[in-house]
């Protein structure tokens, strides 16, 4: 379906154009107006995303709303955008998290215009990653997202931000470099950068033949390169050590976006690139990768138990939650077509988990941000006590976010995790059984956090703690509402992705 | 001993006197006088080589010498003007005092 109006281009470039506008006018706009403008531009994504949902037909499992124009014809590079259920879900997530994060943090930020402009660049890049279908533009978006993230982290972050920002960018670029090399080799063999074409080549086996036949050195090397780039981004255990300092030192808004949206880019890459283009090498490596994902689930959760910095703790919980997604994916890849019902459940769970984790982790980061802001920069586990006495509303909403993260039924987190476990159990029962340890540890560290910070007599920075003001309430409410809504009516999202996922599961090798 | 050799011996003596004067005296004007003597020794050589050389009919030696004398006159004028300027500035005509133009 070729729509006449380039909806997806608008979707991606509105934030960028807006960022330019705000940046150019930064000194002429009054601060309040600049804030409102940034917010409005950020909201464009959810509006255009709603248009996309209206034009989207869930029953069609291919790409929709596609736009394709030749870009660099000498290299066979095209400007190719398109959308399927997976992309749509992530576009909607970006559309929700970005304005919420902006609204929640713009008020307290220095230089709101520049902060907002950088944020809009980040938003546009993430959207580009989710809809680009040609490696060339995709990689441009992918790398470009690092730059605003770097500056947001370094300039607005905490005391250790500079070091963390460098580590984050260097580490991620280090991974991407291998991916770029991999794609260069792929291009040399196949002559195209287009994901759809590459996936089609991979399906009928010609890609592996062009790279030198299955089992040869090149397919493995190219696969490893791309894997490394994506694994660092997600991050797959043990490539995760950049994440806790980065999330902890970034300003609250950036942390929300990093964990809510950017961490999904890696998993998206796994689903969009690695899995369709390298099915055979992935299947060969899947058992080892399954162990790594399991390591992320279990050790990530247990490491969180040991953290005394609340932001680092939430960061580790992100590692744990995203590892569930990878666990499901690798289980599906390892098992192949043995159990399509379980595969469909695992893949559905993965996509739902991406969305749900975005909501709950962003909300948790915002809550920790409130604690940090109220106490003048403290965010240690022992710096608070009895916050619930002083701020019952805050405690209630934070508790809902926390239980969503624990995976309590009735809230969104449960659905994704249940489906992942249901799928993984059908494909690799031992992995599912081991991963329950992660569930237990997650409950343990989050409840410990809750007990130490919110319960007990008021102590430390919690004395005279102010409850939520209207702005903070309005920031959290959309997230909390969605947690309930998606927990009770998961069909809202499942309806968008189910046909796609069912097709994936049915056409497994 | 032919006349050319006699002329050359004379000019050599003249040059040596000029050189000795230029080296020995510290008064700038006297040094200039020594230099003029050396110059004139050279002029004498020109005349001698022309007069006793193979092309005595052409007059090239005289032209050389006249040019050299004209240039030497101008040079002397500039040199003396410099000496006066230095004297005004430093109240001295000693050559050793004017040493600021070194590398």
């Amino acid at each position: 379906m070729n729509s006449t109006w380039p909806l997806l281009s608008w979707l991606v470039f509105t934030p960028w154009a807006g960022a330019l506008l705000v940046f150019v006018l930064r000194s002429r706009l009054p601060e309040n107006f600049a804030r409102a403008l940034v917010l409005l531009l950020s909201l464009s994504t959810i509006a255009l995303g709603a248009c996309a949902v209206a034009h989207f037909d869930p029953a069609v499992t291919g790409m929709q709303l596609t736009e394709k124009h030749a870009w660099i014809s000498a290299l066979n590079v095209s400007y190719h955008l398109g959308l399927d259920g997976l992309s749509l879900v992530l576009v909607l997530l970006t559309g929700i998290i970005s304005p919420v994060a902006l609204y929640g943090t713009l008020r307290h930020s220095r230089c709101p215009a520049i902060y907002g402009a950088l944020f809009l660049v980040l938003q546009g890049s993430a959207l580009g990653v989710f809809v680009a279908l040609d490696f060339f533009p995709w990689f441009v978006f992918w790398e470009l997202s690092l730059i605003p993230a770097f500056f947001l982290m370094k300039l607005w972050g905490g005391p250790g931000a500079s070091r963390a920002a460098y580590q984050f960018v260097i580490y991620t670029i280090g991974g991407s470099a291998f991916m770029l090399l991999g794609f260069a080799a792929l291009y040399a063999a196949a002559g195209t950068f287009d994901f759809v074409e590459l996936a089609a080549l991979a399906r009928d086996g010609t890609l592996a033949a062009k790279l030198g036949g299955p089992g040869a050195f090149w397919p493995q090397a190219v696969f490893l390169g791309v894997l490394l780039g994506l694994a660092v981004k997600v991050p797959l255990f043990p490539f995760h050590t950049w994440l806790p300092p980065a999330y902890a030192e970034a300003p609250t808004g950036a942390s929300m976006f990093l964990t809510g949206v950017m961490s999904k880019m890696g998993v998206y890459g796994f689903l969009r690139i690695l899995w369709p283009i390298f099915p055979a090498p992935l299947q060969a490596a899947a058992t080892l990768l399954l162990w790594l994902a399991l390591g992320g689930v279990v050790l990530g959760a247990f490491a969180a138990l040991k953290q005394t910095d609340l932001k680092r703790m939430v960061a580790y919980s992100s590692i744990n939650h995203l590892s569930y997604c990878l666990l499901a994916l690798f289980a599906v890849a390892a098992a192949g077509s043995t159990n399509p019902a379980a595969s469909a459940a695992a893949l559905s769970g993965t996509i739902l988990q991406l969305f749900n984790h975005g909501l709950s982790a962003a909300a948790l980061f915002y809550c920790v941000g409130i604690l940090e802001q109220r106490s003048g920069g403290k965010r240690g586990l022992a710096d608070f006590g009895g916050v619930r006495t002083a701020a019952p509303l805050f405690a209630g909403l934070c508790g809902i976010a926390m239980f969503s993260s624990i995976g309590l039924p009735g809230l969104n987190g449960f659905v994704g995790e249940f489906l992942i476990f249901r799928g993984v159990f059908g494909l690799a029962p031992w992995a599912a059984a081991t991963a329950t340890l992660g569930l237990l540890a997650t409950a343990l560290f989050l409840l410990t956090f809750w007990q130490r910070v919110f319960h007990g007599p008021a102590a430390g920075a919690a004395v005279n703690f102010r409850d939520l003001d209207r702005g903070e309430l309005l920031t959290l409410l959309p997230l909390i509402t969605l947690m309930f809504l998606l927990g009770l009516v998961p069909q809202l999202l499942a309806g968008l992705i189910n046909p796609l996922v069912t097709t994936w599961a049915a056409t497994l090798p | 001993m032919n006349p050319l050799q006699l002329c050359l011996i004379l000019s050599s003596l003249l040059f040596c006197i000029g050189l000795a004067g230029a080296l020995a005296r510290s008064n700038t004007i006297l040094v200039l006088l020594g230099i003029e003597l050396m110059l004139n020794a050279a002029n004498l050589n020109f005349i001698a080589f022309w007069r006793y050389g193979p092309h005595a009919a052409t007059g090239t030696g005289v032209v050389f010498v006249i040019f050299a004398i004209a240039v030497a006159a101008a040079e002397a004028a500039v040199g003396l003007a410099l000496v006066i300027a230095v004297h005004r500035h430093r109240k001295s005509v000693r050559l050793q005092d004017a040493n600021t133009l070194k590398g």
Binding site: R388, G410, V501 | L95, T100, G103
Partner: protein
């Protein structure tokens, strides 16, 4: 008029709506919140009665209403509601007991500033419990199961400013979650093996014979698949129902307000585990026909139940906190129910569950009444002499105790316990559970006599107890009603007219036996009860404690065992030393791995990069740049030297000139000699 199964969701929805109201009203709206909670619960009670009428119209039928929750793969994930006598009886019991407890709470929580939240949580709890009861899907049951856990977490930690309450809430949630993870795995296995989690679905549900036959395949370890699934599901019940070895959370949970203890930890929540096993009983019993398997699922259930029954009763003898004694008695009684389930008489288990819900709620509310009157004094050694000051509480509490102990004929607890003892006695596999149960009967009689004697007789041993007086009707009325039920409930399942049993088993007609069939066993149990009471009275009743500090007569005689029991046999310490230590070790290991190994590798790589950079820089600086530097330095030196020759001394120049002239001269002279 009956309630159709399509509308069964209304029963949990009413209290849920009350919970939402309770959450949204401001703190001053406590009357509204309490009113909404009580009104909703009364409505739910009426609906439950209508549902019971509907279920009894055809007790053998499992009426279901299934619907799709969301699309999944080629099909959809389906949930549903189920109406059968088990559901209906449970719903009536839960709504009725909850209603009385809600009413009691209006009196008990009168002074608490946060009472509206209390009613919100209570309603949420009741809604979750009712949802669990009406579910026709193991998944929906699990969802409500977890919500029950959440509500209990919130209620146990209701006085969250007390660190002990906050810790107890966390402990309860985590301990039950350990069991829940087993439950979750069982559920996943079932979904994977059967493709459905519906109990009944017109022949396709997993509790129906066609599906159960799939599960008799043997696993590599020799167990049948249904045994493994059943045991995993049973893990959930062990956690929630406070069975050994996960019973440690239940006594700590007494940190919550007393009505919470009554609601959650006596009448309903802990009963959820027993209900779960009764609900999936066909699954649990599916392996009974198999021979040669190492163990049957129900055998494990019976064993755990017997251990718990004995253990709880033993520990209860050495506790001094009135609520803790009741808590351990709950643990013990739940053990009896599990025992009944394990030995094959799930009907006896449900009967005991129902009677226990009433008399244990009565006992907890009675304890709440005592505690409220005695200004939050809970130590029985510091109470005493309340029989005169609080007549209604005393009489109702006595009735509850007699029901719990199993005083013959007139108390419901007697008949339900008889049914369990009979079932245990008739069990073919082993008689050990029966002996444990019999011993438990003596102990139960003993510690309850002690509780009564210490609390109500003798003299007041503290100022608070001395000033106690009877509470208002909001608190005494529920006591009276529960006491009436504790007596009257015997009538629904007398051996001569086992109406409840027949309905639960789906029979239309009730076949009675003589009232005193098996009189030998009954006589034995009556004798044992008398022995326990007599022993208790001899130790504690005849010479009441004079001062709060006087030593316990039993502890004075056997200090070692009694202090071990008082410390709850060291389970908490054991778990802290093993599981807790292991947990810490894992956490530390993960953290260290991150900091030093994974982070170290990355730092090493970064260091390697920096090292190559250093090498490259040194090469550049030393060799390449060094060469250019020295050349240009030489040039500069030469220039310097030449410029030194220009001294500014005109005589020097002239001397050079002269020297040059002389050299020229010499060259000419020497050359001229050619």
């Amino acid at each position: 008029m009956t309630l159709a199964v399509q509308h069964l969701w209304l029963i949990p929805a009413l209290p849920l709506a009350a919970a939402v109201i309770g959450a949204l009203v401001p703190r001053s709206g406590r009357t509204l919140a309490a009113g909404a909670a009580i009104g909703a619960m009364a409505g739910a009670f009426l609906l439950a009665c209508l549902a019971l009428a509907g279920a009894l119209a055809d007790p053998s039928a499992h009426q279901v209403f299934n619907f799709s929750w969301f699309d999944l793969g080629a099909g959809a994930l389906r949930l549903g509601f189920l109406l059968d006598p088990l559901t209906a009886f449970m719903a009536v019991m839960v709504t009725f007991v909850s209603l009385l407890i809600f009413i009691f709470s209006t009196g008990y929580m009168k002074e608490d500033a946060n009472a509206k939240q209390f009613f919100c949580f209570l309603s949420l709890f009741a809604a979750a419990m009712l949802g669990l009861i009406v579910a026709n899907s193991l998944l929906l049951l699990f969802v409500c199961w977890e919500l029950v856990g959440l509500a209990s977490y919130l209620l146990i930690g209701f006085w969250f400013h007390k660190p002990s309450a906050a810790a107890a809430a966390k402990k309860a949630f985590i301990t039950t979650r350990i069991g829940d993870l087993g439950f979750l795995l069982g559920l996943l296995w079932l979904q994977d093996a059967q493709g459905t989690l519906l109990f009944y679905d017109g022949g396709a549900g997993f509790l129906e014979p066609a599906a159960l036959a799939n599960l008799s395949a043997l696993l590599p370890c020799g167990l049948a698949a249904s045994t493994a699934i059943g045991l995993l599901v049973f893990c959930g019940a062990v956690g929630k129902s406070g069975q050994f070895p996960l019973h440690v959370w239940l006594p700590d949970a007494m940190e919550g307000p007393t009505p919470v203890s009554a609601l959650i930890h006596a009448a309903t929540m802990v009963a959820a585990g027993v209900f779960l096993i009764a609900r999936v009983y066909p699954l649990m019993a599916a392996d009974q026909a198999l021979t040669g398997v190492p163990v049957h699922a129900l055998t494990v259930v019976a064993g755990i139940g017997a251990i718990t029954a004995l253990l709880g009763a033993l520990i209860a003898t050495a506790q001094n906190d009135i609520k803790r004694i009741l808590a351990f008695s709950t643990v013990s009684q739940l053990g009896y129910m599990m025992l009944a389930l394990g030995v094959g008489s799930w009907v006896a288990a449900i009967f005991h569950l129902l009677t226990h819900a009433f008399f244990k709620a009565l006992l907890f509310l009675g304890a709440g009444s005592v505690i409220h009157a005695a200004h939050h004094e809970q130590d029985i050694r510091r109470l005493g002499g309340l029989s005169q000051k609080m007549k209604v509480t005393f009489i109702t509490f006595t009735i509850g105790t007699m029901a719990l102990v199993g005083v013959p004929l007139f108390f419901s607890g007697f008949w339900s316990k008889e049914a369990i003892l009979h079932a245990a006695h008739g069990w073919q596999v082993s008689h050990l559970p029966f002996y444990a149960a019999v011993l438990g009967v003596v102990l139960t009689a003993f510690y309850n006599t002690r509780l009564m004697a210490e609390t109500f007789f003798g003299s007041s041993r503290s100022e608070n107890a001395g000033h106690a007086h009877e509470n208002g009707p909001a608190m005494t009325l529920p006591l009276v009603m529960l006491a009436a039920c504790a007596v009257l409930l015997s009538l629904v399942n007398l051996p001569s007219y086992p109406w409840l049993q027949a309905k639960l088993l789906g029979l239309h007609e009730v076949h009675g036996h003589p009232l005193f069939e098996g009189a030998g066993l009954m006589g034995l149990s009556v004798l044992l009860v008398a022995l326990g009471i007599g022993f208790g009275w001899a130790l504690y009743g005849r010479h009441p404690r004079a001062k709060a500090e006087s030593p316990d007569p039993l502890a004075a005689r056997a200090p070692g065992p009694m202090s071990a029991l008082a410390n709850r046999l060291g389970f908490d310490e054991l778990y802290a030393a093993t599981v807790g230590r292991l947990n810490d070790a894992l956490a530390t290991l993960s953290d260290l791995l991150d900091r030093f190994v994974w982070g170290g590798v990355i730092r090493f790589l970064a260091g390697l990069g920096q090292f190559t950079g250093l090498v490259s820089r040194e090469t550049d600086e030393r060799t390449l740049n060094g060469g250019f530097d020295s050349t240009s330095k030489g040039l500069r030196g030469a220039g310097q030297a030449y410029s030194d020759a220009q001294t500014g001394e005109a005589h020097g120049y002239l001397r050079t000139l002269a020297l040059g002239f002389v050299i020229l001269l010499i060259l000419v002279v020497l050359g001229g000699a050619r």
